[in-house]
């Protein structure tokens, strides 16, 4: 049976809204993507307008939650929901508290919303506190995975620093295979990408996901920034941000035909040397029927000329990415 490599390509962008531009205040939205420890994750934070250092808060929260979800993915996936909620909130709040201390501020000055999706192998987890939206494409249909948590009034929401954050935190975990894309949007972006009355995702989101099928993530990032600035800010005075991830399935035979940048993205590599090693390992794995038993790993190491440790590392990494 011909196998394929499943990878998740990501892109993100954030732009300052008209209201902050006018008052010469920083953009309080942050959006980032990371690939580490076999996990691909995107996160987005929208700092509270009322919190004076929420731009620091958003940056700190995004970095902290990305690191945390990569490092502890397996535990976060399998632990009790209540424990996961508590751990995520306390880890991010610890990071915010440490940042607040360096700024001689309180943690409330760092208040922010937070949205995350992380994928490892065939599993995913999604976390959401506050407003903004998590959208997904499942079985070819785009829909809302998590809708905004808002108060009664338009300017009210829950922040990761709120007392009720652990209870208000949305948590979803499961088999990622029916899903082909995810998107995180801040409240500003949701103004044009999420129909509040119908709880429906705008067609633009599918269009944006499609960009990652034909372009590099850095080109998509640049396009996102342009669209946020030229189109979204016409309709929303708030900061606008977006983080997207798209599943890409590439037949093993076709990987060799891709250019080096795409090979790095597909195989999760940062160097051309690593790409060469993984491709060699992949070819040998096919001959060994994708087994990662000690005998098979020894054969792969011998055939590729890699140490048994390196061959095993690549083989286990690739096995998680195979369809």
């Amino acid at each position: 049976m011909e196998r394929a490599v499943v990878s998740w390509l990501c892109s993100s962008a954030a732009v300052r809204g008209r209201a902050h531009n006018r008052r010469r205040e920083p953009c309080q939205d942050r959006a980032r993507a990371i690939r580490r420890d076999g996990v691909t994750a995107i996160a987005l934070a929208d700092g509270a307008g009322s919190a004076r250092l929420s731009h620091f808060g958003a940056e700190t929260a995004v970095r902290a939650v990305l690191r945390f979800s990569c490092r502890y993915f397996d535990e976060l996936f399998s632990s009790e929901p209540g424990e996961v909620r508590g751990r995520v909130v306390s880890h991010v709040c610890d990071a915010l508290g440490a940042c607040a201390a360096t700024q001689k501020a309180s943690i409330q000055d760092m208040a922010t919303t937070l949205l995350v999706v992380a994928v490892k192998g065939s599993r995913f987890l999604a976390v959401h506190v506050g407003d903004g939206v998590i959208a997904c494409e499942r079985d070819g249909v785009s829909s809302v995975l998590s809708s905004p948590t808002r108060g009664e009034y338009a300017n009210e929401t829950v922040f990761i620093t709120s007392r009720k954050a652990p209870d208000a935190l949305f948590l979803a975990r499961g088999d990622v295979r029916p899903y082909t894309a995810f998107a995180l949007m801040s409240d500003g972006s949701a103004t044009v990408l999420y129909d509040r009355r119908e709880s429906r995702i705008a067609p633009a989101v599918r269009t944006i996901w499609g960009w990652l099928d034909r372009n590099t993530p850095s080109d998509v990032e640049s396009a996102l920034r342009h669209n946020l600035r030229d189109l979204f800010l016409e309709k929303s005075s708030d900061d606008c941000s977006l983080a997207i991830m798209r599943r890409r399935v590439t037949q093993i035979a076709a990987i060799a035909e891709c250019d080096l940048e795409f090979q790095k993205l597909i195989l999760g590599c940062t160097s051309s040397r690593s790409v060469r090693s993984r491709l060699s390992v992949l070819r040998c794995m096919e001959e060994e029927d994708y087994s990662v038993e000690p005998d098979a790993l020894a054969t792969i190491a011998k055939k590729t000329g890699l140490s048994i440790e390196r061959a095993s590392f690549h083989a286990f990494s690739m096995r998680q990415m195979l369809s």
């Binding site: 307008g49 300017n155 409240d187 009355r197 669209n227």
Partner: protein, 225 residues
Amino acid sequence: MGDEMKLRKEELVENPTARVPVCLCLDVSGSMTGAPIEELNQGVRLFFESLSNDEVAKYSAEVAVVTFGGFAAQKHLDFGSLASQTVPQFQAGGGTPLGAAVGLALDMLEARKKEYSSTGIDYYQPWLVLMTDGQPTDDISGAASRTVSLIENRKLTIFPIGIGPQADMSVLAQFSPKRSPLRLKGLNFREFFEWLSKSVSRVSQSIPGTNVPLDEKGIKGWSEL
């Protein structure tokens, strides 16, 4: 960036603008006859004009007017878009059924909030502007306790304003547990309504998580200290 990665407007959605419901509860009793009612009419007209000229507030502000004079409170203008409303004109006469007027205003605000919720329209905390130049001629206790409860539960913002030296500020204070009532400087209705429209505009442009402080400096333009 080529056209390939440019979104079209048709691919986006249109969400309704979040609304700021404002109910003006105005004294049009006999004692307002003459210059006060004329200045009030001009002030209210200015209020509607200012909001209509504001690029955000004209879509978000929704104004209703309840008057109290004669023997009853009257729904003078129900909530609606500014573009569809005619600026009301008032005539002075009769008593001061303030309690009934506040009760009616609260009923209207509650009904409007329900309409917003059922049609998926976001809204900000409602505002009630209460203006009187004298003493109520009906029982205010029920309306006052209702108002206090709403304010304490962060469901209402009230602006109680006394007009002229005869306005009973202690009565107005019964409606406002957090903010002391203010007395209008002379007949500075226009200055007050200009300040009010700017305040509505600031709220309508606020973004989530933002507490919009009142323009305290601007209050000095229309209020006696």
